[in-house]
């Protein structure tokens, strides 16, 4: 069994997330792209519940998505 102790690159429980785009509509991001958004922006999306997470094309809850 191997254990990934590197938190920064640990496998995410989602493979895609849709967040509101600045000009309206939504934009689709990979986990890495989402992680590189400013923390303020990510927190704001999560509080408002406007980030929609997906795994294998299926929507999942944010709490499920935040598990690593």
């Amino acid at each position: 069994m191997t254990v990934d102790t590197n938190i920064g690159t640990a496998r995410k429980a989602y493979d895609r997330v849709e967040v509101p785009a600045p000009g309206g509509g939504t934009r689709s991001l990979t986990p890495n792209q989402f992680e590189t958004l400013p923390l303020r922006e990510r927190v704001s999306f999560l509080i408002e519940g406007t980030a929609q997470f997906f795994l294998d094309g299926r929507p999942i809850s944010p709490s499920e998505a935040m598990r690593t």
Binding site: N6, I7, G8, E35, L39, R40, R42, V43, S44, L46, I47, E48, G49, P62, S63, M66
Partner: protein
Amino acid sequence: MSVARKALEMTQAATEAIVQRAETRYEAHRQETFRSADRMFAALMIGQWIFAIFIALTVSPYGWQGKVKAVHMHVWIAVFLGAAITSLPVALAWFRPGEPLTRHAVAVGQMLWSALLIHLTGGRIETHFHVFGSLALLAFYRDWPVLITGTVVVATDHLLRGILWPESVYGIPNPEWWRFLEHAFWVVFCISFLILSCRRSQKDMRVMAERGAELEALSENQWRNSSVLERAAADTRGDR
């Protein structure tokens, strides 16, 4: 004030508070890392001082000046130069733990300890391993500029002593002029990987703090949703 406007303001206030707490957690984690390493080095410096006196007493306790037996200069060097090298880093670790000045003074002190131990053992190549051990310990700070300070000190020491007193650092009277570059190369080789490790550790600390912020944001969202549901249920029951 409209409901939408009030909700936006609440979100902004909650976001600011969560981001601020994440920054505080990150900074607290860094400070604890620095302070913990400061404490470790304070103890290590004192241990090295005792060890250096032991080495001096064991290797060359006495010398002869004509027919007079006298305590060898190495013993006094170990006692007094050792005290001088130890005193500033230990004092800073005690009185100003966690500050940048402290860890850079520790880096200078630790490398001077390598230099002194190398001198006391007559430039034994095995004692040069102390340099690499010290660099690994300095990486406990997870602050890569500290490694640069240590490298500059050890390279300068090898260069100057290599010119002025080569037996003291290499154990031979006529080493090649460029030998300090060979030693410095291996030090740079070592710290290249330690710097990568420090940077990765810093990033992990940041990610941990941000992960906490995301979980707080989720919790805030769930609390808001449950509040909305409770209000809706109260409205349905006609409580208001």
